[in-house]
């Protein structure tokens, strides 16, 4: 008790001064509209910044679960998108030829051609000429060789081998990777690959000279192979070099997928692939 009294006698006037300063500030804010407004704005700004920091900290710990949820949502959206594309194509090309122009019944509408399986890259190489990805799903999850691999940004690679629990895919940054690509809105098709010179750039080949291709044009999967759905983004044209000798243009494409940041991916299963493969095989045997 004596100590408390000693403390009060030493610092009591300082504490009293601070209390009165606080009371004065409070009265200033309460009684003056100008000061009240300024205080309100400052308090709101400070509260907003504190909330942003708190949200950043808490989301750091829940991010992996959020990413998993987002990946599942994306999977559903990819499937829905393919279904809608199919239906749109059906109505565009088939309805005008039906007698009486009546719409097709649901049972005759084509089913979804693609199924998307979410996965994560647990290994990724970008330094060599034959780079690959290791994925955290395998045969028991339904993975098969020659399945396409896509990221949220576009084409990523193709599965070449799998075990029960894991799979290996060659990435776009692999000289063995080839894809049938097309330049959107130009209606021209070519062969896309990677020449090993630049980690972020691929090459679209066999585009005739008479097609005007401009930097900024979008390159996408043509859908001719069963690897990727039609329209899957490959990249953007950055350079066009005409080759008068061959009669084609060399087109350099900036890849849409950042291979230094690969994490959440999807495997693309073409549901009609077995039928298409058997038709191709019969065609080759016949010729």
């Amino acid at each position: 008790m004596q100590r408390l009294l000693d403390l009060l006698s030493r610092y009591g006037s300082v504490v009293y001064f601070l209390v009165l300063q606080f009371v004065g500030l409070r009265l200033l804010v309460d009684r003056s509209p100008l000061h009240g407004e300024l205080y309100g704005q400052s308090a709101l700004g400070l509260a907003g910044r504190l909330e942003a920091v708190e949200q950043g900290l808490s989301s750091h710990f829940t991010r992996s679960e959020q990413n998993r949820q987002l990946q599942l949502e994306n999977q559903a959206l990819h499937t829905q998108l393919e279904a809608l594309k199919q239906r749109l194509a059906t109505y565009q090309y088939q309805v005008p030829y039906l007698p009486g122009k009546s719409p097709l019944p649901d049972s005759l509408l084509p089913a979804v051609d693609y199924r998307f399986i979410p996965c994560r890259a647990v290994g990724n190489s970008v330094q060599g000429n034959y780079n690959y990805l290791i994925l955290n799903i395998g045969r028991k999850h339904g993975v098969k060789p020659e399945m396409g691999v896509i990221s949220a940004s576009g084409v990523a690679g193709m599965v070449v081998d799998c075990t029960e629990d894991f799979s290996r895919a060659i990435s776009v940054l692999n000289k063995d990777f080839r894809l049938s690509g097309r330049v959107r809105h130009r209606g021209v098709y070519g062969s896309f690959g990677w020449d090993g010179r630049s980690a972020g750039r691929g090459q679209l080949e066999h585009i005739p000279l008479h097609f005007q291709i401009l930097p900024g044009d979008t390159v996408e999967a043509s859908g001719y192979s069963t690897l990727f759905p039609e329209g899957t983004l490959v990249g953007t044209v950055v350079r066009v070099v005409p080759d008068e000798v061959s009669g084609f243009q060399d087109i350099e494409v900036a890849l849409s997928t950042d291979f230094n940041k690969l994490d959440y991916l999807y495997l693309v299963e073409a549901l009609h692939k077995p039928q298409l493969d058997s038709l191709s095989l019969r065609a080759r045997e016949g010729s």
Binding site: G12, S13, Y16, F17, L20, Q21, L27, L28, R31, S32
Partner: protein, 168 residues
């Protein structure tokens, strides 16, 4: 006796000048006012306990706030800071021949040095704090008020000092 009479006569004259002439006729209160209540705080005995001085400042602010509520907060902050600075200043300058041992101000000092070393700096500090808080600015119009009010208030405080406190 004579001093008291002079004060009784001068005080209403001052009020008349301030309200009728300076405020109403010339509208000079935008540029300077006499915060004569500062004289009350500056002339408080230095030996008075600080908590009591703060309580007097709180009481005066509440009274003033009945008439002018918007300025209540700034007045409380300004007067308590003035008293705190005054107490600090006294500790810094004592022991000095200007102050008696019992802590009461010995007013035998030269008026000009008393004004320059004591009243004017404290009044100016108070005005900067009060005007700055009230207007949320220290731009030139606010500085005009600070300078005008500080000079005007100092003149009146100086006059009170000459009439009532200077030892002859």
């Amino acid at each position: 006796m004579r001093r008291g009479l002079i004060a009784l006569v001068l005080l209403p004259v001052y009020w008349g000048l301030q309200v009728v002439l300076f405020d109403d006729t010339f509208a000079l209160s935008s540029y300077f006012q006499a915060h004569l209540y500062l004289a009350f705080f500056l002339f408080l005995p230095l030996g008075l306990p600080l908590w009591l001085q703060y309580t007097l400042a709180l009481g005066w602010s509440m009274l003033y706030g009945l008439h002018y509520p918007v300025a209540l907060g700034a007045l409380l902050i300004g007067t308590t800071t003035l008293l705190a600075l005054r107490s600090l200043w006294v500790r810094l300058v004592t022991p000095s021949t200007d102050f008696a041992d019992d802590g009461h101000m010995a007013f035998g000092t030269k008026p000009l040095s008393w004004c320059a070393a004591y009243s004017l700096p404290l009044i100016a500090t108070y005005e900067i704090l009060f005007q700055g808080l009230s207007n949320l600015s220290l731009g030139w119009p606010v500085w005009q008020r600070v300078l005008g009010t500080s000079a005007y208030t100092s003149l009146w405080v100086f006059a009170v000092f000459i009439l009532f406190y200077r030892k002859r």
